[in-house]
């Protein structure tokens, strides 16, 4: 807690708060969920970075998508992402959410997850080890510092594009759009 740390805290408490208290909600989609228990328990303690698993998306600001995303799970992921309070970050585990990975030609999995929800960080590897997860967390810190972890802002501004992609995949969606769709259209036009 040296001097410039305190100055940083005083200048931007919200940003520092987000850095050192990432309450994570992890979506046990694919095979990545096996990596999360060792991360949060004694062997590799994630709590020293302030990362704690929480029960509901309302209380979280970090969304971990661990492993391949099937079409049916994507609905739940979109709904969970939209239920999180606004400064939120998402991290994709492993190669499957990046480009479909091993299931690149399967009819039932999503190939690029960031077509449907904005992703702030990727962790490569076909199920990354816990050390890779901590590298991701520290990398996320630098992103937050440099204001590049702006997934939620991109979701807000390009919402009509994301919504269009989602409707193109699912046809008509059960839940109403999160942000009103009209103002984006004339904002761009």
């Amino acid at each position: 807690m040296d001097r410039n740390q305190i100055i940083k805290w005083l200048k931007a408490p919200a940003k520092m708060g987000h850095k050192y208290s990432l309450h994570a909600i992890y979506f046990c989609t694919g095979c990545g969920i096996i990596e999360v228990p060792p991360v949060i328990t004694a062997r590799w303690d994630a709590e020293r970075f302030g990362v704690i698993p929480v029960a509901t998306p309302r209380q979280a600001n970090l969304f971990l998508i661990t492993g391949y995303v099937s079409v049916k799970t994507l609905k739940a992921i979109i709904r969970t992402y939209e239920q999180m309070p606004s400064p939120k970050f998402t991290v994709g585990f492993g190669s499957c959410p990046i480009n479909g990975g091993m299931y690149w030609d399967s009819y039932n999995t999503i190939k690029r997850l960031d077509k449907y929800i904005p992703i702030d960080g990727w962790i490569a590897g076909c199920m990354p080890r816990p050390e890779a997860i901590f590298v991701a967390v520290t990398h996320l810190w630098t992103l937050i510092d440099k204001d590049m972890a702006d997934g939620y802002k991109r979701y807000r501004s390009n919402y009509h594009l994301y919504r269009a992609n989602q409707e193109q995949l699912f046809g008509e969606l059960e839940w109403p759009p999160l942000f009103p769709l009209e103002d984006q259209v004339e904002q761009i036009a």
Binding site: P57, R58, A76, E174, W175
Partner: protein, 618 residues
């Protein structure tokens, strides 16, 4: 402003509104409201006057007298105000029902007869008004036919038992003292033998315990409350059931006087100990049974029985503090039970008579005023600081602890915590949670229902923050009974063994709320969101199936349901069944053949001769 004029206005208003109903129905409702409000206003002018005037001589040489003192004025004021509010409430509630003239006649008659009881100066008029009250209530309870007839029958039978025991008590008084005038009796009776006093207490006690629903005699109350029309429930639960309390006060403190009443009977089995222990048992047992109810009005009925126990605990120990607590709790309970029944009535009015707690929900979005009324009602019922219930319970607990009865205080406190559980269940099942599909378009309660709710909510907060106003009046009642007065400040009781200062609590709560509100305002504004957008692990919310009400305190039910069944109700039913069998057996005798009857006569004669020969009785 003589008393006869008051009673004429009361009874005349009832009859006239019935006539108006026959002639032209539109005038009847406003006339009923005007007459009851006028009654309340005239009652206010009666403050502090104590006068006595006989109004009828021809009754077997006994003068029927009307008198008023502080106690009578206190109860009369409560009756008239609650009666007026109930009439305003029932304006919209019974508008499109049949037999509304009959309903208004009976409602106003019940109010008028309660006023009569309170102003009665002698026992004959007391008994006459008591009977008018009983049968007008019976007719109103069985107003909507069906199951209500059974509930009304149970009520009228028990009140007749009470009236008869009271009648015997009066006859014994008349036989010994030759007069039924309360003022003279209160001078003569204290010198009577303690055996006779106990006999009087038991007789009058049965009548007033039935009316006040003390534990073994409470079985009529839950059904009566559940089946009677909700607008009448306010009057029935507010002051009508508390006429029993007025009766206890009359007997213990006016007729017999506190000195003799409080050490009647050997050592531990003093009369007021037994009364207090009955009150304590009533609190605990009825609170836990109230937890198990799934019908809103049954739940409120059982809670009314429980609160009756607090009042008995208050007046059982003849200290000025306890008496003040008991009387103040009678008034507070009347205020918030009427408010709760009105909110249930408003919900029933809008949802087509629905009162089953498991099929309601989320009505706060559609009926906010009823929610606020219900919320303040249950906070009064629980006794949350800054509501009137807290002050009266504080007084009662203080007497119990300082008098050295910790187990009674423990029973009362457990009653409060059980009360929290069923109060929250009441509010949660009706107003919180998911709004079902069929109630999405429910409108607000009409203004004529919202007005009484708002008035009563303000009264709860006013008496909670400034309890000095009612406590001064109650203090004068206490001194009229001969107790040394409490020094009552406008915001509580100041005494060396622990003062109550509600203004400090009020200021602290307001300051804390302001600070927390400012902290909350510092953060970003919260986005309002519909009830469908709630956490369900990413799944869609199923319509009408995402609301948890059935078996709300399930683990608690399993633990307490074997012990807290309604034993006395069950016992009464078994008793009824047993008597029916016995009578059925006896009926077999009348077979209709002449030969059998002749045989019975001959046998009986033979029996007589045998007895005469053996023991030669004659």
């Amino acid at each position: 402003m003589s008393l006869e004029l008051l009673l004429i206005v009361a009874f005349g208003g009832a009859l006239l509104s019935y006539l108006f109903g026959k002639i032209c129905p539109q005038i009847r409702d406003p006339f009923a409201v005007i007459s009851s409000v006028a009654l309340a206003v005239m009652m206010a002018f009666l403050y502090g006057k104590t006068m006595e005037s006989p109004f009828y001589f021809g009754f077997l040489g006994l003068p029927l007298i009307l008198r008023t003192n502080m106690l009578a004025w206190f109860f009369a004021m409560a009756i008239s105000i609650l009666g007026a509010l109930s009439v305003i409430f029932s304006w919209d509630y019974v508008k499109d029902r049949e037999r509304t003239d009959f309903y208004y006649l009976m409602l106003l008659l019940a109010n008028a007869s309660m006023l009569g009881i309170v102003f009665a100066g002698d026992f004959v008029s007391f008994f006459v008004f008591w009977e008018i009250m009983s049968w007008s209530t019976f007719l109103l309870i069985s107003y909507n036919r069906g199951r209500a007839l059974g509930a009304g029958m149970k009520y009228i039978i028990m009140s007749i038992v009470g009236s008869v025991s009271m009648l015997i008590g009066m006859l014994s008084l008349y036989a010994i003292y030759g007069t039924l005038h309360i003022a003279t009796l209160s001078k003569l009776v204290p010198s009577a033998s303690s055996g006779y006093l106990l006999f009087l207490f038991i007789l009058f006690g049965i009548a007033f315990a039935i009316k006040n629903a003390l534990m073994p005699l409470h079985t009529w109350l839950p059904d009566a409350y559940a089946e009677s029309p909700t607008s009448f429930n306010g009057v029935l639960s507010g002051m009508l059931t508390r006429m029993g309390m007025y009766g206890f006060l009359l007997i213990i403190y006016v007729i017999v006087g506190a000195a003799r009443a409080l050490n009647l009977g050997p050592g531990i089995f003093k009369f007021n100990y037994i009364l207090a222990w009955l009150g304590a048992i009533t609190i605990v047992v009825s609170t836990f049974i109230a937890l198990l109810q799934n019908d809103a009005k049954q739940l409120l009925g059982w809670s009314a029985i429980g609160q009756g126990g607090y009042m008995i605990l208050g007046i059982a120990f003849g200290t000025s503090l306890g008496l003040a607590g008991g009387i103040f709790h009678t008034l507070n309970h009347a205020v918030y039970i009427v408010l709760l029944f009105m909110s249930v009535g408003a919900v029933q009015y809008r949802t087509g008579g629905q009162r089953d707690l498991d099929s309601l929900g989320g009505l706060i979005k559609r009926m906010p005023v009823s929610f606020i009324g219900a919320l303040l009602g249950i906070s009064g019922l629980i006794g949350i600081p800054l509501t009137n219930g807290f002050v009266s319970k504080w007084l009662i607990y203080k007497t119990l602890i300082l008098e050295g009865h910790p187990f009674l205080a423990f029973a009362a406190l457990i009653g409060t915590w059980g009360c929290i559980l069923y109060c929250y269940k009441f509010v949660h099942h009706i107003f919180l949670g998911q709004l079902p599909e069929k109630y999405k378009m429910v409108a607000r309660a009409p203004f004529s229902m919202q007005l009484p709710m708002i008035i009563l909510s303000l009264v709860i907060l006013l008496f909670g923050i400034l309890p000095g106003i009612p406590l001064k009046v109650i203090n004068t009642i206490g001194t009229s009974f001969g107790f040394q007065s409490l020094n009552v400040t406008t915001w509580g009781i100041a005494s060396e063994t622990g003062t109550l200062n509600t203004i400090n609590i009020f200021a602290a709560v307001v300051a804390a709320c302001v600070i927390v509100w400012l902290i909350f305002k510092a953060g970003p504004k919260a986005v309002p969101v519909a009830q469908e957008d709630t956490y369900a692990a990413g799944a869609a919310i199923p319509k009408d199936r995402y609301h948890y009400t059935v078996d709300f305190y399930n683990p608690l039910y399993r633990m307490i349901s074997p012990y807290f069944k309604d034993f006395i109700g069950g016992f009464c039913i078994k008793l009824a069944g047993w008597t029916q069998n016995v009578c059925h057996g006896i009926r077999q005798m009348y077979t209709g053949y002449i030969g059998h009857y002749v045989m019975y006569i001959v046998l009986f004669l033979a029996l007589l001769i045998f007895v005469q020969l053996k023991w030669s009785l004659w």
